[in-house]
């Protein structure tokens, strides 16, 4: 995956509302400015896992179909790509967020990603497991850190057994 430095992530109230609906959260802090002002949030804020949706602003994000390029999801066939491994490249093992302050509509976050540690482990359910860590920093327009996210991905040798 390509992770260009300095992706701009403009935080918008509508995006927060859609994201909150998607996680089944209809709390006023996520969609109703009037009611949100009466809470200790003092206005609309983003749910804690919202930073992940920076994917929308990464022009090269590999899990979004792009015009003129093949896509591994189904169309006429079960996959639009042939001869590729059946895995999309990995599953999510862990995710951690640390916040210096809440994210609010109007923030324009500068986002950069760097690789962290990587390691391997054997498992019964999916063969060899290859873990890798990625650290994403979200900074505001003053260059202050707002959020640091640490993600651990795992690639499996085969699909996880379902028993």
């Amino acid at each position: 995956m390509t992770d260009p430095k300095g992706i701009k992530f403009p935080v918008e109230a509508t995006h927060i509302m859609m994201f909150a609906r998607a996680i089944g959260d209809y709390s006023p802090e996520f969609h109703d400015p009037e009611q949100a002002r009466q809470t200790d949030a003092g206005g609309i804020v983003a749910p804690p896992t919202f930073p992940q949706s920076v994917a929308q602003f990464n022009p090269d994000y590999f899990l979004r179909p792009k015009p003129g390029q093949t896509w591994f999801g189904s169309g006429r066939e079960a996959s639009g790509e042939k001869g590729k491994p059946a895995s999309s490249g990995g599953l999510h093992a862990e995710q951690h967020f640390e916040f210096k302050r809440p994210i609010r509509p109007g923030d324009v976050l500068s986002v950069s990603v760097k690789d962290g540690a990587s390691w391997e482990k054997e498992s019964k359910r999916a063969g060899k497991l290859m873990f890798s860590e990625r650290i994403t920093e979200y900074r505001d327009e003053n260059g202050e850190i707002v959020c640091i996210a640490r993600s651990v991905g795992v690639k499996t040798e085969r699909p996880v057994d379902q028993d």
């Binding site: 998607a22 959260d25 896992t49 189904s74 999510h92 995710q95 916040f99």
Partner: protein, 140 residues
Amino acid sequence: MTLKASEISVGDTFEEVLVEDLKRTQLVMYAGASGDYNPLHTDDLYSREAAGYPGVFAHGMLTMGMTGRVVTNLFGPANIKKFGVRFTNQVWPGDDLSGRAEVEAIREEDGETLVDVKLTTTNQNGDVVVTGAATVRIDP
């Protein structure tokens, strides 16, 4: 209504139903909002025939997002300092999930009162799908 430190004690537990009979449509909503369009989560044909799974399954981040509701409902979404999880089992359409938070510590740090909670999200079979932890700021 967010909790105050005087209203909770170490060992207190809080439970919340996160979803009943998880719908595929919710996976589509999550894909659209988050931008994670991995067909494993929205494209049953791909998931079964190309990837070898029984069908689509939930984004880990959807389960984490739903789990976060236990924390934000108790303590307020503007008061989260840390929130982390480990994904331990996949979540499938039709699953019922319930989230549990246990107060592990109430402590002072840099003039703030903080609460550490342990998080567990379980499906209808009693399988743990997410374990995690959060640290939140709280009024005394």
